[in-house]
Every structure is written in structure tokens, then in C-alpha cells.
């Protein structure tokens, strides 16, 4: 493990955190999140426009030469953590964590120049289809992609869809327009209403090759690793939040003449939540720096983050429901929204068993 890699954020990150938290408190309090999650679009266009204009979120990790702010993934991590705290439904994850990462990793400067400025301005929402069975073939009219991919984050609303498709020279990255002919998109009914997934069917949809043909396997690995770390940042934000909600509740809630937080069964479970949150935070911060530094051990750090932070968040969200008692099981209380986000995130981009198998391979076990 890269022992020189930092384990702390920097003071300047606090400023970013403060402004993002304030923005989200203003624009996405719980009632707003609940309203947006019931829509099929799944995000609030106005809020996203403001997030891009006022905070420059879409530009955050886009290099300056493409019209971005050129920050590293560590800054994206701060945004994701705050976003996870309030379950902010927004195009940020798909556009920045998935698509921007894929475009930058492709090394395709022409594609970068064509797409990134639009992304940075907030004018182009994008995503990546990482799974499914897709293949692409060159025609006289350029490449065409055929096949299906499901569980694509924001797949039904993204304006640019990057897909990984098999070609004669191997897995390759392609760009497909969200409104391309031959593309049908269907929103899926998700457990976690605050993150939308879609099923995409491609029938000879026109596509543009990004980077060199055959470079898709490495690209996919990079995108999935960054996605795992991005998810981990959200998960830490969510876990921290349910811990806070729970601690506040058990301090106030009285049973048998005592605050229930004074009972060891409750207190010790809160302590275990704290252990989970603090440990997950350590893993997450370290992994953010690994992404930023393009560390050799990113694949390891990402697998560790995917396993540990997913499990920690789910465990905390489950404890939150239990410690709130009946009220924690109601639709009106926010606990279930975090629980559903936690369970879905655990299964997204490969579940913990899968990531442990990958990590075992990396560790040569």
C-alpha cells in the first residue's frame, strides 16, 4: 500500500465542502429530494444548472485546456461526500465520475476537445454503460453499436452515452448520442429512487470510436475503479449522516424514563457505527488520493473501498432503522432512503464478493 499517499484532506477542501453543503441545504432539502425522486427524470434541471453555474461542479475535474477548473478527483470526492449526505439526485456522478473519467482516460484529445467543454459548461450530461453485451462494427457510415446494457446510471436522460463494446480488435470505447437512431432507452424501477438506472438497447446505433480500438479493457478497469471510489465517497457521506441522525434521536428519545442512548444495547451499536464511519472515511480519503495520483495501487485501493465502504454504509443504515424503532421503518422518515441507497450501492459495479475475488487476485492469493 502506497504508504506515502496522504490520509487527510487539506484545509482548502473545507472551503469547498462548506460551499457545497450550503448550496445543497438551500436547493435540496429533504422535501426537494423526495419530490425529485418521484419524477422519472430523477434530477432537478434548475438545481443542476445552478450547481454548474454557481459552483462549477460539472467543470470541477475537467482540465483547464478543455474549459474546466482542473481540480483533481479529491475535490470530486468532497462533492460526492456532501452529495451522499443528502442523497442529492443529480447528473454529477454519471457525468463527472463516469463519463469525464472515461474521456480523460481514453487519451483521445480530439474527443476530449469535442465533449469536455460542453460537459464543463453544464451543457452536456453524460454517462458510461459499463456492463452488458454490446458489439460494434465499422460500416461505410462509421461505427455502429448493437446490443443491450442495463443498470446504466442516468442512462435514460444522459445526452452523451459512452459505451464499451466488443470489436474485432477487442473491447473499445464508443460515444453514442442520447438521441441516436437505433437507441431505445427505458428507465428501470429502482429500489433506490434517488438514483436512476436505465436499460439501453442499441440496434446499429451510430457511434464514434473514442481512443484506440482495443483499449476498452484498461479503460473499463479505470472507470470502474474510479466509480468505486466515487461511490465510496458518497457512502461515507451517507453513513456519517445516518450516524448523526441516530445519535440525535437516541439522545432525545426516552423510554423507561431514560434517553435510550443511555442503554448499552443502543450505545454500543452507535459506537460500532462510529467505528464503521471513521474506518470507511480513512479508506475513502486514501483511495481519493490514489485516483488523483494515478497510483499503481489504485485497483487495490478501489476494491478495498468498494468492499469496506459499501458494507459500512449498509451496516450503519440498517442500524439507523433499528435504533429509530418503528418510526425508522416509515416512509416519512429518511432512514429508508439511506438504506436503499446503501444496498443498491453495494450491488452496483460489482458486489463485495466479486471485489474480494478481484482483490485476492491483485494480492496474488
Amino acid at each position: 500500500m502506497g504508504s506515502t499517499q496522504p490520509v487527510l484532506l487539506r484545509p482548502e477542501h473545507d472551503e469547498l465542502r462548506t460551499s457545497v453543503r450550503k448550496f445543497l441545504a438551500d436547493t435540496s432539502p429533504e422535501p426537494a429530494v423526495r419530490a425529485v425522486m418521484e419524477t422519472s427524470q430523477g434530477y432537478d434541471s434548475n438545481v443542476w444548472r445552478r450547481a454548474c453555474a454557481e459552483l462549477g461542479l460539472a467543470a470541477l475535474t475537467v482540465p483547464e485546456q478543455y474549459g474546466g477548473s482542473g481540480y483533481s478527483f479529491v475535490e470530486a470526492g468532497v462533492v460526492l461526500e456532501e452529495s451522499g449526505r443528502v442523497l442529492w439526485p443529480s447528473p454529477f456522478f454519471a457525468t463527472t465520475v463516469l463519463a469525464t473519467t472515461a474521456l480523460l482516460a481514453s487519451g483521445d484529445t480530439s474527443a476530449a476537445a469535442d465533449f469536455l467543454p460542453a460537459i464543463a459548461s453544464g451543457g452536456l450530461r453524460a454517462t458510461v454503460a459499463t456492463s452488458g453485451a454490446l458489439h460494434a462494427a465499422p460500416t461505410s457510415d462509421g461505427w455502429q453499436v448493437t446490443g443491450a446494457s442495463a443498470y446504466v446510471v442516468d442512462g435514460h436522460t444522459a445526452e452523451l452515452i459512452l459505451v464499451l463494446a466488443e470489436t474485432e480488435t477487442g473491447l473499445s470505447l464508443f460515444a453514442v448520442d442520447g438521441h441516436a437512431s437505433g437507441l431505445t432507452r427505458e428507465a428501470q424501477s429502482t429500489m433506490d429512487l434517488t438514483r436512476k438506472l436505465a436499460k439501453l438497447r442499441f440496434d446499429a446505433a451510430p457511434a464514434r470510436l473514442i481512443g484506440s480500438a482495443g483499449s476498452g479493457t484498461d479503460l473499463r478497469e479505470r472507470v470502474l475503479a474510479v466509480a468505486a471510489v466515487g461511490l465510496a465517497a458518497e457512502q461515507v457521506g451517507g453513513a456519517q449522516r445516518v450516524l448523526e441522525l441516530t445519535v440525535d434521536y437516541v439522545k432525545e428519545r426516552k423510554q423507561f424514563g431514560r434517553a435510550i442512548g443511555s442503554f448499552q444495547a443502543v450505545k454500543h451499536r452507535c459506537a460500532d457505527m462510529l467505528v464503521d464511519v471513521e474506518s470507511a472515511r480513512s479508506v475513502m480519503v486514501h483511495a481519493l488520493w490514489a485516483v488523483a495520483a494515478d497510483s499503481d495501487e489504485l485497483a487495490e485501493d478501489a476494491a478495498v473501498a468498494k468492499v469496506f465502504c459499501s458494507d459500512a454504509f449498509l451496516s450503519c443504515a440498517g442500524a439507523a432503522i433499528q435504533l429509530h424503532g418503528g418510526i425508522g421503518f416509515t416512509w416519512e422518515h429518511p432512514a429508508h432512503l439511506f438504506f436503499k441507497r446503501a444496498k443498491s450501492g453495494q450491488l452496483m459495479f460489482g458486489d463485495p464478493v466479486h471485489h474480494r475475488r478481484l482483490l485476492g487476485d491483485l494480492l496474488e492469493l
Binding site: Q188, M191, G257, F263, K343
Partner: protein, 395 residues
């Protein structure tokens, strides 16, 4: 089973099964069963029973079922499981006469009005007030987690009649008419999107003193009768077996059974099989001990265990689905049925199971019960003992 009663039972069964149309209106059959003393054989003659040993009831139920007769339990479980035994134990003859028959026939459904927002595990911490006004009581307050509340005619209501004595002593138990003015039932939506439960609001609702069970201030004793029947009902009701069976099917449906991931999930599945089998055997042992007249701790153990196992089994189902586990059927309340909520997907069963460790006694409380009542460990120091409910409530 002793032989005393065989003659009465057989005679009554013969008369019932010979005279009533088994395939017609269940209400009519159940009424005839009640009148024949075969509703609850151990109840007195005239109140649905024959005054004989309760052990005959299973025999009656088997005979009725074998003959194709209807059972009213599923349509009024809280009435059968809790209301009936409570009215029999604490009701006046008039109350028993009025309430038991329509309860048994299903014409009048029952619900339970104990839980309140501020009284969760601390069941006796009831705030709903009942103030006497002549020969009526005026009820104000709120109850919650009321299943069957939206269709019930009667509610088993625990209300505070004296706030100036310690909490267990100031309670009185009423049978509340759910159709009375001032009683409002609102569905309570759960994280599954369904609404199995309700909130019930009382705004100057009036109950006749004739519908009080037992003495004023004696409500806690009556409630204990209801609760002991509830615990038995719940431990019989919850099961991890359907989720285990579902997990087995989901594992068999995996296409990657030779992958390292599947091998690990198989180990988890088999471990769950082992633990659920152990729990099943423990429940069977508890039943066998009870049949032998020896009530052991197996009931409480089974509840605690079944909860954990059902949560684990429903989670394994979702995990076996992988990415598909991120999906869900509809959360729309309109698409769900109040008492027949069904598990259209493993994900709904998984979410629903989160409540298992809260409803009918939290796992924390069940641990206390096992530790204190079964193992005899000392209770926690009580800080709300010997002070009035009013004083405790303002601390």
C-alpha cells in the same frame, strides 16, 4: 388428551357438520359453530364453548377442516388471537355475550390500540387520555402501528385514566368502537411503499363505560393478557422458510455456479440452511415440550432467531440477484393492498424484513426478556419506578 369431553365433542361435531351448509356463507357456518360450542371448546357453554379441555380444540379444527368447513382466523387474526382470550378473561357476561359471537363469525373485526409514538418498547408509557364524563369516557390522543384498523369494528384500547400514579397503575382498558365519531384511521406508509398499518387519532371520542374491561386503573393487567397472546401469535406467524426456499431457487438459477463468487455465496446459503434448520428444530422442540406440559424459553428464542434468520435470508436473496437486486416493483401505495401485501420481488421481502426486529417486541427487548426471565439476570436500575407518570413524562 383425557377422554372427558370426547362424547360432547363428537355429538356437537356431528350435529354441526350434519346440519349446516359447509360450502355456503362462512358467516352462517361460523355462527352455527359458535352456537354449537365448537368455537372455543374450553369457553363456557353459551359463549362458543363446551367447558371442556382446550386440548380438544385442535381435534375440532381438524375435523371441521377435513369436512371442508371454513376458518375465520385469517379474516380476523387479532380478534381470534387476542381479542377473544382477553374478553373471556376480563369481560363481564354482558360484554362476552355482545362481543364474542360476531368476533368469531368475522362480522366484527378487531384491532389493537396499544402502541403510541412516544411509547415504543416502553409499552406502559401510554399518553392517550380517557376522562370520565358520566357513564362515558372521552378519549383524546394518538395510537400507531394499528393493523386491521381501517376495517375493524372494535379496538383493544389502553388509555391513561390517572396520570398521577406510576405509569403501570393509571391505565384502563376499553373495547373501543372504531366507527364512533372522533375516531379517525389513517394509513401509515412503510419503507416498502405499502401500508399494512394505520395511525388512529382520537378527538373527544366517546366510549360507554359498559365497554370498559375490568376495573378503572386495572388496564395493565388486562393488557398483559392481550400481550402474552400476541407474543405467541407472532412467534407462530413469522418464518424464515419462504425466504430460504427463495434463496435456494435463486442460487439454482445462477448461471455462474462454478465461479469463485458463487462458491462463496453457496457457503453462505448452506450456513443459512443450517441455522434455519436449527431454528425449525427448536420450534418443534418447543411445541413438543408444550404438548408435554413444559413451557420452555423456546418461543422467545425462536422469535429472536427467526427475525435474524429472515433478515439474513431475504438479504441473501437480493445478493444472489446481483445487479438485479437494485431493482424494485412499484412503491406506489395505490398498487399495494393493505392486508395482502405479498412479496412481488425478493427486494420487497428484504425491505419488509427490516421491521421484524422492531415489531412485536424489539430484538433488544427480547434479549432483555431472555436474560432476565429465562436466565434470571438482574434488571437494570429503574429510574421511573415509584414516580407518577406525569412526573416521569416531564423529565
Amino acid at each position: 388428551m383425557g377422554v372427558a369431553g370426547q362424547a360432547e365433542v363428537d355429538a356437537a361435531l356431528a350435529a354441526l357438520l350434519g346440519s349446516v351448509d359447509l360450502t355456503g356463507d362462512p358467516t352462517a357456518f361460523l355462527g352455527a359453530q359458535y352456537d354449537a360450542g365448537l368455537a372455543w371448546v374450553s369457553f363456557p357453554v353459551g359463549l362458543g364453548g363446551l367447558g371442556i379441555s382446550v386440548e380438544w380444540q385442535a381435534y375440532v379444527n381438524e375435523r371441521v377442516a377435513a369436512a371442508g368447513g371454513p376458518s375465520g382466523f385469517a379474516g380476523n387474526p387479532l380478534g381470534y388471537g387476542m381479542g377473544g382470550p382477553t374478553v373471556l378473561a376480563h369481560g363481564t357476561p354482558e360484554q362476552q355475550q355482545r362481543l364474542l359471537r360476531p368476533l368469531f363469525t368475522g362480522e366484527e373485526i378487531w384491532c389493537q390500540l396499544f402502541s403510541e409514538p412516544s411509547a415504543g418498547s416502553d409499552l406502559a408509557n401510554v399518553s392517550t387520555r380517557a376522562r370520565q364524563d358520566g357513564d362515558e369516557w372521552v378519549i383524546d390522543g394518538q395510537k400507531v402501528w394499528t393493523s386491521w384498523g381501517h376495517v375493524a369494528r372494535w379496538g383493544m384500547l389502553l388509555a391513561r385514566t390517572d396520570p398521577d400514579v406510576p405509569k403501570h397503575r393509571g391505565l384502563t382498558y376499553f373495547v373501543c368502537d372504531m366507527q364512533a365519531p372522533g375516531v379517525e384511521v389513517r394509513p401509515l406508509r412503510q419503507m416498502t411503499g405499502n401500508a399494512e398499518f394505520n395511525e388512529v387519532y382520537f378527538t373527544e371520542a366517546r366510549i360507554s363505560d359498559a365497554m370498559r374491561l375490568d376495573v378503572v386503573g386495572g388496564g395493565w393487567g388486562v393488557a398483559l393478557t392481550t400481550l402474552s397472546n400476541e407474543r405467541y401469535m407472532l412467534s407462530e406467524g413469522l418464518s424464515a422458510e419462504p425466504a430460504l426456499a427463495a434463496a435456494v431457487e435463486l442460487w439454482r438459477a445462477r448461471v455462474d455456479q462454478d465461479s469463485a463468487e458463487a462458491v462463496v455465496l453457496r457457503d453462505r446459503l448452506v450456513d443459512l440452511h443450517v441455522r434455519i434448520r436449527a431454528n425449525r428444530l427448536t420450534m418443534r422442540r418447543g411445541d413438543a415440550l408444550r404438548d408435554a406440559g413444559d413451557v420452555g424459553p423456546q418461543g422467545s428464542i425462536a422469535k429472536l432467531n427467526t427475525v435474524r434468520l429472515n433478515q439474513a435470508a431475504t438479504e441473501l436473496c437480493v445478493d444472489l440477484l446481483g445487479e438485479e437486486g437494485m431493482l424494485f416493483g412499484s412503491y406506489s401505495l395505490a398498487d399495494s393492498h393493505l392486508s395482502d401485501y405479498g412479496y412481488d420481488t425478493p427486494m420487497r421481502a428484504y425491505l419488509r424484513a427490516r421491521a421484524n426486529s422492531i415489531e412485536g417486541g424489539t430484538s433488544e427487548i427480547l434479549h432483555n426478556i431472555l436474560g432476565e426471565r429465562v436466565l434470571g439476570l438482574p434488571a437494570e436500575p429503574r429510574v421511573d419506578k415509584d414516580i407518577s407518570w406525569r412526573e416521569a413524562a416531564t423529565r
